[in-house]
């Protein structure tokens, strides 16, 4: 290995090598953070909703005029939707996973307790006795609501039911040492004696706001939104498109004085929820690629210059017995040493940049495991970038050595 003479040679003419190393360091520092942020966004975009996504859609129905009783009208609408072939369950709703609108409430366990900060906040979903079928959720403990417990709800009513159901994440947060079943909680958000009894715990279900601080905590209350409201429908597998197409006609048969809009499958709901994350991931990935390209072209340019500058030296080395592979290895090794220096500096810089992102922009801390991944990327990039000029160097004829110019 020619490490020692290469290092000595680089020490003699350090400027160009240091510039490349600095570029590599900066690239690694940015790349590691960008990769981490992109992967974080991808993980967020992939978070489970907890519902039967492929077979669920939602829509809104707005009554026009004062023609019908909102409670009876809603029940008639639900009957009409449930009668469409292929429908498993339907309900009116406030709050669906990733829907980006709904209610949020403070949850406390003692009368004197106050809701301070996001720690005690949870999404509030209004559901009826068909909640498991509508969402496609699993009940872990207790029971769901009885039909008798479900109360028609209109805008302005306060959600103060006697019974509630928690999802697993909220249950574990409130009662880390045991079961939540039978425990009393206060979901009004105001100080007061806990008056809601937990009757069931369901499995994972996401809140409407995936980027909130508590995206996994949900409390269910037995209310049926009525009048102009939102609906959620779950269909048999493969029936989604057909049912979505039939929904407007079925509702118009009940009452034409309405507007039906926002008929949207859950795939669209999820995509809309993560639009910003996707855009940021694409933008950052593009920046990372551009940065890598600039670094790669920088290396290509510098090594090409070195090859031209060292033509006589390469010819001499060939004359003294170097094989083409020796010349190739020389340039690869030289590049690897420069890039490794850049990596050493880049790792420190990456942690410093991440420290600033954590401190000022509330990003997550960069796991150390991302550094070797970033280092490997720039090392491979360096080797690929040096390959073209180095192969050109191997084609320099040894007879160049005897030319006097």
């Amino acid at each position: 290995m020619e490490i020692s003479p290469i290092l000595k040679s680089l020490r003699k003419n350090p400027v160009a090598a240091l510039l490349i190393a600095a570029q590599v360091a900066l690239t690694l520092a940015i790349l590691a953070n960008v990769l981490f942020i992109v992967s974080d966004r991808i993980a967020t975009m992939s978070m489970p909703s907890g519902i039967d996504e492929p077979n669920v859609f939602t829509f809104a129905s707005q009554d026009i005029g004062e023609g019908r009783n909102p409670i009876d009208g809603t029940l008639a609408d639900l009957d009409a939707v449930r009668a469409i072939p292929g429908v498993i369950a339907a309900a009116t709703q406030i709050g669906i996973p990733m829907g980006q609108s709904g209610w949020q409430t403070g949850v406390t366990l003692k009368a004197e307790e106050k809701v301070e900060g996001p720690e005690r906040l949870a999404a509030l979903y209004m559901v009826d006795e068909r909640m498991l079928d509508v969402y496609g959720m699993q009940l872990l403990e207790g029971r769901t609501f009885n039909a008798e417990e479900v109360i028609a709800w209109k805008t302005g009513d306060q959600p103060k039911p006697p019974v509630v159901i928690l999802n697993k994440a909220l249950s574990q947060k409130l009662f880390p040492d045991g079961s939540a079943l039978g425990r009393m909680i206060n979901i009004t958000g105001d100080p007061g004696e806990p008056a809601q009894q937990v009757v069931g715990v369901v499995d994972t279900i996401a809140s409407p706001w995936p980027r909130s601080q508590n995206p996994d905590r949900v409390v269910f209350v037995p209310f049926r939104p009525s009048g102009s409201t939102n609906f959620i429908v779950r269909t048999e597998p493969g029936e989604l498109d057909r049912v979505m197409a039939a929904i407007e006609e079925a509702l118009f048969k009940v009452d034409r004085n309405r507007i039906v809009d926002g008929i949207r499958d859950f795939k669209t709901t999820r995509a809309r929820a993560f639009e910003g994350d996707r855009a940021m991931a694409v933008l950052l990935a593009a920046i990372a690629l551009a940065l890598l390209a600039v670094t790669a072209f920088g290396i290509v340019g510098q090594v090409s210059f070195w090859v031209t500058q060292r033509t006589k030296q390469i010819g001499t080395r060939r004359a003294l017995g170097a094989r083409r592979s020796d010349i190739l290895r020389y340039f690869q090794l030289e590049n690897a040493l420069i890039v490794l220096l850049g990596i050493a500096v880049g790792c420190t810089l990456a942690m410093a940049i991440n420290g600033a992102l954590v401190k000022y922009l509330s990003f997550g801390a960069l796991p150390l495991s991302w550094l070797p991944i970033g280092a490997l990327v720039v090392l491979v990039l360096g080797q690929l970038a040096v390959l073209g000029p180095a192969l050109r160097a191997t084609r320099i004829a040894p007879a160049i050595a005897t030319r006097t110019a």
């Binding site: 003479p5 030296q313 004359a319 017995g321 004829a397 005897t402």
Partner: protein
């Protein structure tokens, strides 16, 4: 040591065909000191390049130390060059970024020699040319004559059977040239075959044999009367 029979070297471009060597035949025995002279364009450098396996000939037969080099792969030629031939170039061809030690080390590394043996050979070679105390100086810190001595040390360190010198004194003043020539004679005296291309007829006459080339062919071979030269 070296036998060339009816060698031809033709450089071809789209428009021109240049015959650099024509029906070139020469035998150099082990231990000889042969000087090759000729006007510019006579084919001296082409001959040296082919002799040193830096270029391939177009036709004919070339045997180096009993090995027919025709048709050898690039790697085989590199390996043979490294093991059997030492080069001394007119402009020294030292690597400016490396000190004397590392410059002499270059061909030894390509031979895959162990570090300890390399160290011993480098120190011996540099001592032999009078630069044993300047191992870690850089070429720019030396005079032209000293740089050529380093080049000679580099050529000698691998114990080559054949030393090819291309105008070894071409860039040196008279005093330095004489010193380098005396060193070459000393090396030849210890058994190393030397072929030296030169414009300097006086230097050529100091070699054991003087080959004169014109238009890619040998036109005259003269044995040197050493007794008169050495006395002078």
């Amino acid at each position: 040591m070296l036998t060339m029979k009816s060698l031809k070297k033709i450089y071809r471009t789209a428009l021109v065909e240049t015959h650099a060597l024509r029906d070139f035949s020469l035998t150099v025995n082990s231990g000889e000191f042969v000087a090759v002279t000729g006007p510019s364009g006579s084919g001296k450098t082409t001959f040296l390049n082919i002799a040193g396996l830096l270029e391939e000939h177009t036709e004919g037969q070339y045997t180096l130390d009993g090995i027919n080099v025709s048709g050898m792969s690039d790697d085989q030629r590199s390996s043979l060059r490294n093991q059997k031939i030492g080069f001394i170039f007119q402009s020294f061809n030292l690597i400016a970024d490396l000190d004397l030690y590392d410059n002499v080390d270059v061909p030894l590394r390509y031979r895959g020699m162990p570090k300890a043996e390399r160290k011993q050979r480098i120190e011996q070679a540099l001592t032999r040319v009078g630069l044993g105390s300047r191992l870690h100086h850089y070429p720019a810190e030396l005079s032209g004559g000293q740089q050529q001595r380093v080049a000679i040390a580099r050529a000698l360190a691998g114990s080559p059977k054949l030393l090819l010198a291309d105008e070894p004194t071409g860039n040196l003043d008279t005093v330095m040239a004489r010193g380098v020539m005396e060193l070459l004679e000393e090396i030849n005296g210890q058994g190393t075959t030397i072929i030296m291309v030169t414009h300097d007829l006086e230097l050529a006459r100091r070699a054991g044999r003087h080959v004169h080339m014109v238009d890619g062919q040998v036109v005259d071979i003269a044995e040197t009367d050493f007794s008169s030269l050495r006395a002078a």
